[in-house]
Symmetry: C2
Subunit: 585 residues, 2 copies
């Protein structure tokens, strides 16, 4: 049974239309005022067709072949990658959420998010190339000079040019303040960039002629640490058509995403131009952080979805052992039963489904918040949406990628020994999914960001605002007769509020305390958001005409409530014990 | 910094001598009555030298090269594997726990277990070849005819001959009752075996001239299902020196353990001989199940140990960011601090250490129980030890391999992006470790075995006997001034007893109920056993002359108590809710 993918269009539409009521938000956002669900459906249907029809067939080959670098430093992507990228650009996919001013289609990030989920589910390695485009687009649009914008922005928006983010150096990973790449200003206003970078996704490849590198570097007069970092745009091809002085010295041999060229880059007096203010490069990049981290979270979501679908299908066809209670009733058949009827496998499949569907609601809510933050008619609503997006982003990034990997592993177990063998596909998903827990800020960095910057720094205001929204959902559930969902959500909101107060109280006298419990805080709040997502989904399902679909959805959400939510208590308990000793090694 | 391994001899000696007081047990076991700790130390020291000096250097190469099969079906193992195997046989390692009657050294399985932990930590792929020897030895010794024993047993004991277990067929994995390979009795008393098997580790290779296959098959008059399965010994070389009619049709391309040849085998009228009674093949193999499953658990332990060591070393040398509280005190240095001082990394490292050290106590206790079950002077003690070994075995297999994989993933995270790159070693450990959750009975099968066969089937007698032992340890801790360990262990024993009673009560009217909670039951009881292991270790540490070592050990055990044990409550809660609905899909 080959690895396959059916775009989850029904669930996407359900989340966008019924759970999040996105059209009501769009009505308040000028660029989307005319947008209707039929257009969105058509876009997502086409994206799903591209994902399953173009990207999936070259996924296993990309893993098996990987990228190849020749002696001159040129990089060849796996078979089919170029053709797929050309079709991607021709289809207008890179430009989906970009402004029509720059050749884009001006669709919401929410719609873009759903397409990304499908693309990555079908080919994570390939997606790495265009995945950085939107961040580069936003950074150039917000910070580059008019001249640079005129030269590069439309090509980046439409994907005719690809982009690379050159941040990491061997000694500077999570701590970018340690980076050493230097940029020397020239009389003509350009920079000469010298330095070595590692882990540069798409630093070199054969998909496009032009690649713009956004390089973090230091100007000669830079103060030490993170306050002395500038951002330079360094193109592979200079305006006169010659090759810039930059070289790919090697490709990393990685556990997964073999189709993605992870480059060691050397800039040898490469010509570039400053983007944004001198020494304010990190700030310029942080602008794009929320959407970039959301995108990585969507990678986790995509892996979960494709692993879940395939595990469900395999479990429905693989027969081993007799089930005490089968779908056709106990003892209905004579031979072995499909393993989907065995309780251990049912648990695995229901857990996978409840989590991916709940996390889809959370991730799409964050995307909607980004749209509202940018475009809502009301300034107060924009500010509130921005705070919500900031709060949710680390949860989406860390929680969805955590489950992207662990969900792939749980799915692999459904296949038994077959899962460990390459040709069945799930082991590639596990290997590919693992990186998303690391890049774009490790999940531990996300946890610190959440607790320190998003919760404690504003005295808990953003969290309280979200809890108000969640408790309102609980009341709506209670009114709609979903008493168990209402009670569970209220209880999770209480637990989050109490644990937050506890850690805030400890943090005053013990600055390290929040750092000791940040990971548990993130997992705890992730469960509170899950409780909200499951409750909101169960309530939204009441309005779905297809009652069979709706009842199956509610059963999965209730499974999450009953079997998965208790895990939150462990995390909150550890957060509340923030004062506990954590020995030094 | 290269992947490395320091044999954990000090902790092994601590567990064997002080926590388990193994010498006192040996004194009651005739074959070990003369054994002293100095001999054991010397054996383990030598084993550690072999593991780190011979097996580790060929580990990464084995992963990169894998096995190669030629058109004739011959299989070449990776470079160095043959030489290492020769040295292994010459060193007498295969024969360690075998009877001196058959060329063995007659050492306890406990000592053998410690050597296995070290071997697999250094090269899981290589270990796959000799790993099956002991099971084959036990099966042949207990069930084969005198003629077969005379022909094969000494060679199997000493490793001059390797062995393969041929169980799985494409349609028969966890459900062996579905297997179809058939055996036709011949006038001369031999069998002609016809059939195809998959996932046969070491079915074909170039390490030894002879390979004996233990093949599950059906005789012509076999009843259907698992009660009609027989066991045949099928050698690669027939007694007259000719090649038997068996072929390796292919090798699996796997996520990990590339050095191990996982063969698709075809038997085309291959000559074999019955081992044990007709139709009683599964029973004959189940005899070796406890030790085989213990060995797989030790694989998980080995992966944890090597991943933990390397993560600790890397975290001590990699500097990123400032720590609020460093080893040298807050703000001691000017540059970035070693990441081992950051709370998130400290959590990861302490969790890894507390788990591997706790699981070592559990796994070694199970090995000691197997030794006592076989050799204790007192029949009652033998029976009790056998029941304890049976109870602990699924816990060791499932819990240690679960953490073998998840521990490797947690360790990988310490490296950040470097962890995802092949040359640093940890990603191979993650890939290799994953298989142990599947083979020798998936971890879900272990959970069912534990709850149904080991706990409920005897009315909880074996569990109660173990709880008596655990509660006695709690009282000793209380007397020794370790009140927190005593209280936590008592509480965990209570929780295990209550949850067991709850599921037993539900099971009467609802036969599926235990199956719905088996996985949680196993994880719950694993935590009870951890609580015992940590308490016993803390108490044993009181007697260690090196107070610094002892205090660091106690701090790690206390970390487990405070930060990890709360997880048990979630598992027991789900077990107690055995009556909850688990929807069908």
């Amino acid at each position: 049974m080959p690895w396959d993918y059916a775009p989850p269009l029904a669930d996407m539409r359900f989340v966008i239309e019924r759970v999040l009521a996105a059209p009501a938000s769009w009505a308040r956002c000028a660029p989307f005022a005319e947008l209707d669900l039929e257009t969105v459906d058509a876009v997502l249907q086409e994206a799903g067709r591209f994902a399953a029809g173009v990207l999936l067939p070259i996924n296993a080959g990309g893993d098996a072949m990987g990228c190849v670098r020749d002696a001159a430093g040129h990089v060849r992507t796996p078979p089919g990658f170029r053709e797929a990228y050309r079709a991607f650009v021709d289809g207008g996919w890179p430009a989906l959420p970009c402004s029509p001013d720059w050749g884009g289609q001006g669709l919401p990030l929410l719609v873009d998010a759903a397409t990304r989920e499908m693309f990555v589910a079908c080919n994570h390695g390939w997606v790495m190339y265009p995945d950085l485009l939107h961040g580069a687009y936003e950074t150039i649009k917000a910070h580059a000079s008019d001249d640079l914008k005129a030269r590069y922005l439309q090509d980046v928006a439409t994907g005719r040019t690809l982009a690379a983010m050159a941040l990491t150096e061997p000694q500077a990973g999570s701590d970018l303040g340690l980076l050493r790449t230097r940029a020397e200003p020239q009389p003509d206003g350009s920079l000469r960039v010298h330095g070595s970078k590692i882990f540069i996704s798409g630093g070199e490849h054969d998909l496009t002629e032009q690649i713009v590198h956004l390089v973090l570097c230091r100007l000669p007069d830079a103060p030490p640490g993170s306050k002395g970092i500038s951002l330079a745009l360094v193109p592979r091809r200079l305006p006169d058509g010659t090759r810039n002085a930059m070289h790919c010295d090697g490709l990393e041999h990685k556990m997964g995403i073999h189709g993605s060229a992870t480059c060691q880059m050397r800039y040898e007096g490469a010509t570039g131009w400053l983007v944004g203010e001198p020494h304010r490069g990190l700030a310029a990049m942080f602008l794009m952080m929320n959407s970039a981290r959301l995108h990585v979270g969507l990678q986790g979501l995509g892996h979960q979805e494709v692993a879940t679908q395939n595990a469900l299908r395999y479990a429905s066809e693989r027969a081993q052992g007799r089930a005490l209670a089968g779908g056709g009733g106990p003892g209905a058949g004579a031979g072995p039963d499909a393993i989907a009827h065995h309780p251990a496998v049912r648990h695995t499949l229901l857990r996978l489904q409840a989590l991916v569907e709940g996390q889809r609601v959370i991730a799409y809510r964050a995307a909607l918040a980004l749209d509202e933050a940018a475009h809502h008619a009301d300034a107060g609503a924009r500010a509130q949406a921005a705070a919500l997006a900031a709060l949710m982003t680390p949860v989406v990034k860390a929680f969805c990628t955590h489950q992207g990997f662990h969900g792939a592993s749980a799915a692999l177990q459904v296949w038994g020994g077959y899962g460990y063998v390459r040709e069945y596909g799930v082991e590639q998903s596990l290997r590919d999914a693992r990186i998303a827990m690391i890049y774009e800020g490790t999940n531990e960095i996300q946890a610190i960001d959440l607790l320190q910057r998003k919760v404690l720094a504003d005295g808990g205001a953003a969290l309280r605002a979200w809890l108000v929204e969640a408790r309102a959902e609980a009341r709506r559930c209670a009114d709609a007769g979903l008493a168990d969902f209402a009670a569970a959500l209220e209880a999770e909101c209480d637990a989050a509020a109490h644990a937050t107060a506890a850690v805030a109280a400890t943090a005053g006298a013990d600055r390290e305390a929040p750092l000791r419990v940040a990971d548990d805080y993130l997992m705890g709040l992730s469960h509170t958001m899950l409780a909200w997502a499951w409750a909101a989904s169960a309530r939204a399902a009441l309005g779905v005409p297809d009652r069979r679909w709706a009842e199956a959805k509610t059963a999965r959400m209730r499974y999450g409530l009953q079997w998965l939510l208790p895990q939150a208590a462990v995390h909150w308990q550890r957060v509340s014990a923030a004062g506990s000793v954590l020995p030094h090694l």
